[in-house]
Amino acid sequence: MKAHRRKRLGVIMFIAAGLSVAVGLTLYALSQNIDLFYTPTQVAQGEVNAGQRIRIGGMVREGSVQSAVDSLVVRFVATDYINDVSIYHEGILPDLFREGQGIVVEGSLDSAGVFQASRVLAKHDENYMSPEVKAALDAAGTSPEGAVTRPET
């Protein structure tokens, strides 16, 4: 093998080794950090284990928001208008959090079936509905447009 060939091979081996380390690290990190998304109906049907980190999308049920006077605790109900999930959150809600508004919550179910939300996401654009909320309403057949239009990819 000529010297420059060997050098080229060395460089290629180096790149390949770097890439495989990176791919391994990436796949490991990916497998650790996937948050699955569920609709309120799926939660009500018991598809989710307590303690599993998930996301739930839905609408904030009108009249369900109770915020404590002496602390930052907020309780509300996320719904797809078929089934409800009770949400518990301690913290400040985003600006656009309102009753009847689409939201996405991140967290896990506790043993009592209450969803302990570590993060509540509401959108900054009122006309924008996140794919999660839309999917939840579509699955329940309660999408405001009526028609079932899952986002195609």
Binding site: A22, T26, Y28, Q32, G57
Partner: protein, 667 residues
């Protein structure tokens, strides 16, 4: 009438760009001088008509023409004038017009500042950009015309600009980001022109380099502005969230960083040619991907525009054709490029290769994490999200590895550097960094902190290595000042950008590890202590702005016995749209920020709020500014200008013939 003129200008720009996309490239191919000479006038025409179009839209905003649908959705009679003007990019249609106009601006600059480049090469560059801008204008006219009217009944008043956008950050961030993004189209066009003409040599790299550096510098500023804006506007005290829309600029930036380093090797040593071309294609693809993700509405993000699927398909089409086409061209032409591997394992070429591999791998893993939810959904029909921990797990170790090489690279020499030399050079640097990294955190924090130690070791490693390199360069000069003067602007650009990395590293790491935050409920007169700072709620009152009403709280911050500052966080309700918005109160400082976001009123005079103490957070943006200055300095190097003057003196002579000996001297 004016909006129709805007539409008409768009159509004219479309026609001119169609000609621009065909004639100059065909002219260069068939050696037709007339067609080649059409490139610059056609570019100017496209620029003028897009300029007219965007002016017409601005005029519609300023005159409150709510019969134009886009204006009605994004403005209001009460909106302050500066936001009426900038609401032009407050939504999908207008911001795409701005994007397209920016591209036309870059094209005009290419036409003006490429007098030394052979005419037929410029014709190909502008032709490629012409095809690109043609597809953008076609997209605008067919799916998202900003001049569409509401007929027959226009609303009496507009729906107002999204309240989160009514801010200086909105005035600055989108245009800067777009300008940086679109700048990579120019570098892409240079690469494609090189593939078309079959001349991928040092001259081509030298023509592209200033453009790549400037685009990279502007993109750096654009991303930093976005981070700064998110920091104080979104109210969660963060400066980077790995949001699906933040990621493509980051991917583009990482690939762009790899590109400007790879271009250096191509220019100075004539190597890595096909790799450089591939990077130019990839960086450009990153910018298109950003457009696609933002405008297709497929991913959940704070940036996403409300959108319909037809737009997503159209952009996907542009994306597929341009990336697929350029990669096909690359596959056909790349084998013609003769590569050489004349360098050793400890040469500068090798360290720049390492830099490129790390940067490309980090860009690829961010790309994977960003698109994985979409792919996953396509195959399983399940919706998932990938959280920030994924990105941090990958990005942080890769960057730490990269920073080690940022120290080594500048001290190494082209072709061959003996290991003994490197060890001799770097052992003192390593020793000094270890001392700094171990001692300073112990003195300041009075305890051992792994995070602070590692951060400071890496940051001082970068800075000391650069200082050592400067020292080496002037040590034999008779006068140190003359020695410093003799170093080129591009060298100083490199120094500045690398110091910027060290500064940003300190900011990012220390903020992440040592920030404190707490959500509290404060009654009138109550205090809370956070990290030694005592925040006291002194009162709250109603406020009224031009287009909003709200509340403002007053908090004093005391440290020891000293009153540091009084903070006034606000909570606003924008009247026209009915959207609430929180306005943070920030006391910015070189060493720390104090930061309060107001929640809601609970009972009389009691407010929920989140308090933050964020050490060194400003260093993140300071580092970005240094990097951008570095990129700008490098592109202003007299090497590029000198060649221009010489080549201009002998017009018609190929400038690379002139340049070759010069280059040897410079490197």
């Amino acid at each position: 009438m004016i909006p129709e003129l805007g539409s008409f200008s768009l159509i004219l720009a479309l026609c001119l760009s169609a000609l621009l996309g065909v004639l100059p490239i065909a002219g260069a191919h068939f050696n037709n001088q007339v067609w080649i000479s059409m490139a610059r006038p056609l570019t100017a025409g496209v620029f003028v008509f897009l300029g007219l179009a965007i002016s017409a839209l601005a005029y519609a905003f300023v005159t409150d023409d709510f019969s134009v649908s886009f204006v009605a959705q994004h403005s209001n009679t009460l909106l302050p004038m500066r936001y009426k003007f900038t609401a032009v990019w407050g939504g999908h249609e207008g911001s795409f017009l701005l994007w397209t106009f920016m591209l036309a601006g870059w094209m005009l600059l290419v036409g003006v500042f490429s007098k030394t480049v052979p005419a037929e090469f410029v014709a190909r560059v502008l032709g490629v950009l012409g095809i690109l801008i043609f597809s953008y204008i076609l997209f605008m006219l067919s799916t998202s015309n900003p001049f569409d009217r509401i007929v027959p009944l226009p609303p009496a008043d507009g729906a107002d600009l999204n309240s989160a956008l009514q801010d200086i950050g909105f005035i600055l961030h989108p245009p800067t980001l777009y300008m940086g993004y679109v700048g990579f189209s120019v570098v892409f066009a240079f690469a494609i022109a090189a593939l078309l003409s079959g001349r991928m040599d040092a001259a081509w790299a030298r023509w592209s380099r200033p453009w790549a550096n400037v685009a990279w510098a502007i993109l750096t500023v654009g991303i930093a502005l976005g981070s700064w804006w998110a920091y104080y506007e979104l109210g969660w005290g963060g400066w980077w969230a790995w949001d699906p829309v933040e990621n493509p600029p980051m991917i583009t930036w990482l690939l762009g960083t790899a590109l400007i380093h790879s271009l250096a090797v191509t220019e100075k040593r004539g190597m890595f040619k096909s790799w450089t071309v591939l990077l130019a294609i990839l960086a450009f693809s990153g910018s298109l991907l950003g457009t696609f993700i933002t405008r297709s509405g497929l991913l959940t993000s704070v940036h996403a525009f409300a959108s319909d699927p037809s737009r997503g398909f159209f952009i996907l089409g542009i994306l597929g054709i341009s990336i697929g086409g350029s990669l096909l061209l690359f596959a056909l032409r790349a084998p013609l490029m003769k590569g050489s591997f004349g360098f050793e394992h400890t040469s500068r070429e090798f360290f720049l290769l390492v830099n490129n591999v790390i940067l490309v791998v980090s860009a690829a893993s961010i790309f994977l994490g960003t698109l994985f939810p979409m792919v996953y959904q396509a195959f399983t029909d399940d919706l998932i999200s990938i959280g920030p921990p994924y990105f941090n797990t990958i990005f942080v170790p890769l960057m730490m590895l990269l920073f080690v090489f940022v120290g080594v690279g500048p001290l190494s020499r082209w072709k061959r550097t003996s290991s003994a030399y490197l060890v001799a050079q770097l052992s003192k640097v390593l020793f000094a960094s270890l001392v700094i990294g171990l001692v300073i955190p112990l003195i300041v924090l009075a305890e051992f902190s792994l995070a602070a130690t590692v951060t400071l070791i890496l940051a001082s490693w970068i800075v000391f290595a650069i200082s050592k390199d400067i020292g080496n360069k002037i040590v034999n000069k008779r006068s140190k000042v003359d020695g410093l003067k003799a170093l080129g602007l591009s060298y100083y650009g490199m120094v500045l950008a690398h110091i910027g990395i060290a500064v940003m590293l300190i900011g990012a790491a220390l903020t992440s590890y040592f920030s404190e935050e707490r959500s509290v409920l404060l009654r009138l007169g109550e205090s809370v202590n956070l990290g030694g700072y005592v925040f006291t709620l002194k009162g709250s009152e109603r406020i009224e702005g031009p287009n909003y009403v709200g509340d403002e709280a007053e908090l004093t911050v005391v440290k020891g016995d000293e009153l540091l500052t009084v903070l006034y966080p606000q909570r606003r309700l924008y009247v026209a749209s009915g959207t609430p918005s929180t306005e943070m109160a920030i006391d910015a400082g070189f060493l720390r920020d104090l930061f309060v976001t107001l929640g809601e009123e609970k009972g009389a005079g009691a407010w929920s709020m989140t308090l933050y103490v964020k050490p060194f957070v400003r260093w993140i943006w300071l580092g970005a500014i240094l990097m951008a200055l570095g990129g700008t300095l490098a592109s202003a190097d007299k090497r590029y200008r000198r060649l221009r003057v010489k080549a201009a003196g002998k017009s018609g002579v190929r400038s690379d013939a002139l340049a070759a000996p010069e280059l040897q001297a410079a490197s």
